[in-house]
């Protein structure tokens, strides 16, 4: 268990209203040994980020990319779309909550970057004990 690792994970989705569910289901298949509460948080964050890309990228002809990596106890999720992004991206704290408000309350850190594409990154400080769900080890 001490060498618990997750292989980097990359996948692409068509920019449709079904992309958030596809991203969650891909995460479930990829991260089945992760502690359930951490997997729930990853699904919530990923779903909201992919939803924002579907709603705001303005490029239904281009796909959305999801990258997940683990390094030095930090799990990083990055969602990339081909849109211009927003001028200022701020979590809306009043009701109803924005997707980014949900993200900002779950992730330890988040950031975004604009270039020819739009990147939103989230980081989670995780211990290896949360990456291997005890009950899963009997499989």
């Amino acid at each position: 268990v001490s060498d618990a690792q997750l292989e980097p994970f990359h996948t692409d989705f068509q920019t449709t209203r079904h992309a958030p569910a596809e991203a969650r289901h891909a995460l479930e298949r990829y991260a089945r040994t992760i502690e359930p509460s951490l997997l729930d948080d990853l699904k919530l964050v990923t779903s909201e980020l992919v939803t924002n890309s579907v709603l705001h990228s303005g490029r239904p002809d281009k796909s959305i990319r999801l990258d997940l990596t683990l390094s030095d106890g930090v799990l990083k999720i990055e969602v990339v779309d081909c849109g211009k992004g927003c001028d200022v991206l701020v979590p809306r704290s009043t009701w109803p909550p924005s997707g980014l408000a949900v993200v900002s309350r779950i992730a330890d850190r988040w950031s975004y970057q604009k270039s020819h594409s739009f990147h939103v990154r989230c980081e989670f400080d995780v211990g290896t004990d949360r990456l291997i769900h005890r009950e899963s080890q009997t499989w």
């Binding site: 209203r17 079904h18 958030p20 569910a21 969650r24 359930p36 509460s37 729930d40 948080d41 699904k43 919530l44 779903s47 909201e48 939803t51 579907v54 709603l55 009701w95 109803p96 909550p97 924005s98 997707g99 408000a101 949900v102 309350r105 779950i106």
Partner: protein, 111 residues
């Protein structure tokens, strides 16, 4: 989205996963329901809800308030649904009950 009549209360159950793909249906179902009835929305059989669904719930609760009708939530037990409810303070903006019969009772008794 499953709609059941419980006396004068409409019970709307969100089954399975709800997100951007189903939020328009959820929104329409709730809008139609609050126009005519007291409403209980049960998330007990929901496996996922996101911010777009919370937005639909909030709009419906707002519409119900303006019509003077109750809209209450049966929160259910799915950990991921409880998680987003806690993170967003859902229970502060819409009355929530852990028990379905209590939720129906509250919807029935509300003025």
């Amino acid at each position: 989205v499953l709609v059941e009549g419980r006396g004068e209360v409409l019970l709307i159950r969100l089954l399975g996963e709800h997100d951007l793909a189903t939020a328009p249906l959820v929104r329409k179902s709730l809008e139609d329901a609050v126009r005519d009835s007291s409403v209980v929305v049960s998330l007990d059989d929901a496996e996922f809800v996101d911010s777009t669904v919370l937005g639909a719930l909030f709009s419906a609760a707002d519409a119900a308030r303006r019509l003077g009708r109750p809209l209450v939530l049966h929160l259910g037990t799915a950990p991921i649904v409880r998680r987003i409810a806690e993170l967003t303070g859902l229970t502060d903006v819409i009355p929530c009950f852990a028990n379905l019969e209590a939720a129906i009772g509250a919807a029935r008794e509300a003025p």
